[in-house]
Symmetry: C2
Subunit: 230 residues, 2 copies
């Protein structure tokens, strides 16, 4: 009978479900059809409960109980899945945080949606680069960090973003950006949008204020290039 439920902390329905899924062997029945359980059932349910608390699927638990696979391998496989899920969820969380942070002021739906799309486009681009590119990410990050440090000096000194020294740095930044984008102008545009609309908190030593400063310098650079072309 299901005093079992009370002693295991499960619901009766859950126990029936486990039985239907084949996690409990066939139980003895009383004349009236009521199930009879013994200590082994309690033990079995206890194990199931612990494994379920880790999120292991009933199918995997069944394999385990049938001794067709070891705890070690099941848990390791499960860990792999959880790692992947957690990574995805953390990245989603961070994207949402960045969007929600700035969004109190600017409430235009279209704008927000485009920013979101820019962010996921960049994420996809990063993933592609991660597998395909030969230049290690670390050296790129070092280049950005170096550039950020130099640029910050000018920003703190209050230099005009159009001044020649700053412009030289902006040119370097632009080249790094185009290098990263690998000829994809959508990536360049997405970078520009994300940089102003939902800047990452701390990436390679850059902060939002510094990014805005770079943005002004890049704008100045673009205008100048346009003028030269005329």
């Amino acid at each position: 009978v299901g005093d079992l439920a009370r002693s295991t902390g499960l619901t009766v329905r859950t126990i029936h479900h486990y039985e239907a899924m084949g996690l409990l062997g066939s139980q003895a029945r009383t004349d009236s059809g009521h199930r009879l359980y013994d200590g082994a059932s309690v033990q079995r349910l206890y194990r199931i409960r612990v494994l379920r608390s880790l999120g292991v699927s009933l199918a995997d638990i069944r394999l385990l109980l049938e001794k067709e696979s070891s705890i070690a391998s099941v848990l390791r496989q499960h860990l792999a899945r959880v790692e992947e899920q957690a990574e995805g969820l953390i990245s989603l969380r961070d994207r949402l945080r960045r969007i929600c942070r700035r969004e109190d002021s600017t409430l235009d739906a279209n704008d927000v949606l485009q920013t979101i799309e820019a962010m996921s486009l960049l994420e996809r681009h990063l993933d592609r680069r991660r597998v395909s590119t030969s230049t290690p990410l670390l050296s790129r990050e070092a280049a950005w960090r170096q550039l950020g440090d130099e640029l910050r000096v000018h920003m703190i000194a209050g230099d005009d973003p159009c001044s020649p020294r700053v412009r030289a740095l902006a040119t370097r930044a632009r080249s790094l950006i185009h290098d990263f984008a690998a000829g994809d102008s959508a990536v360049v545009a997405a970078l520009a949008r994300v940089r102003t609309a939902a800047p990452p908190g701390n990436l390679a030593g850059w902060d939002p204020v510094l990014m805005r400063y770079l943005d002004r310098a890049l704008h100045a650079l673009e205008e100048r290039t346009a003028n030269d072309a005329e």
Copy 2:
């Protein structure tokens, strides 16, 4: 028709599903019953797609599209859910990592399961404490950190865990432990098990080696107390 599918990157079935869920208004039909879509449909589907990529539910998206709620509020609510999920998943991931790390050597299923249960018992206890206790967690952590620093000196010096100085520290540790357990002996036992079987990597400045050292000292202390009692 569903060239729409190709131009939005969705499957035909997905579009039909969205329509069934009320996310697309009623479409015009051709004589033969085929649906006709226009630019507005593309725009609508584009928005749905972006929001779905954030994991927003179809129900929430519908509310948004019907202007019954703002993007800002929907995204903030969604963020709250995601934060909670991520927190849970991260804690699960960390528990699994700690279990899998040691588990290659000791493969006894019962042992592993009991360790898992000890870990979740501690987690629950921590949660309860977090809301009920008046002593701030930070001061407890500081006490542990201080104790760890002192103990490490003895460990590095190669002092016997039974020596009087170390024993004094172990007594302090035991008092901290009982304070944390608040009279619950199951918590004390769980702590002992987790400490040896699946120690956290870095908690308040403690590392597994230091924990094992403390463990030996505590054992020595217990034996001595038992002897005194005789």
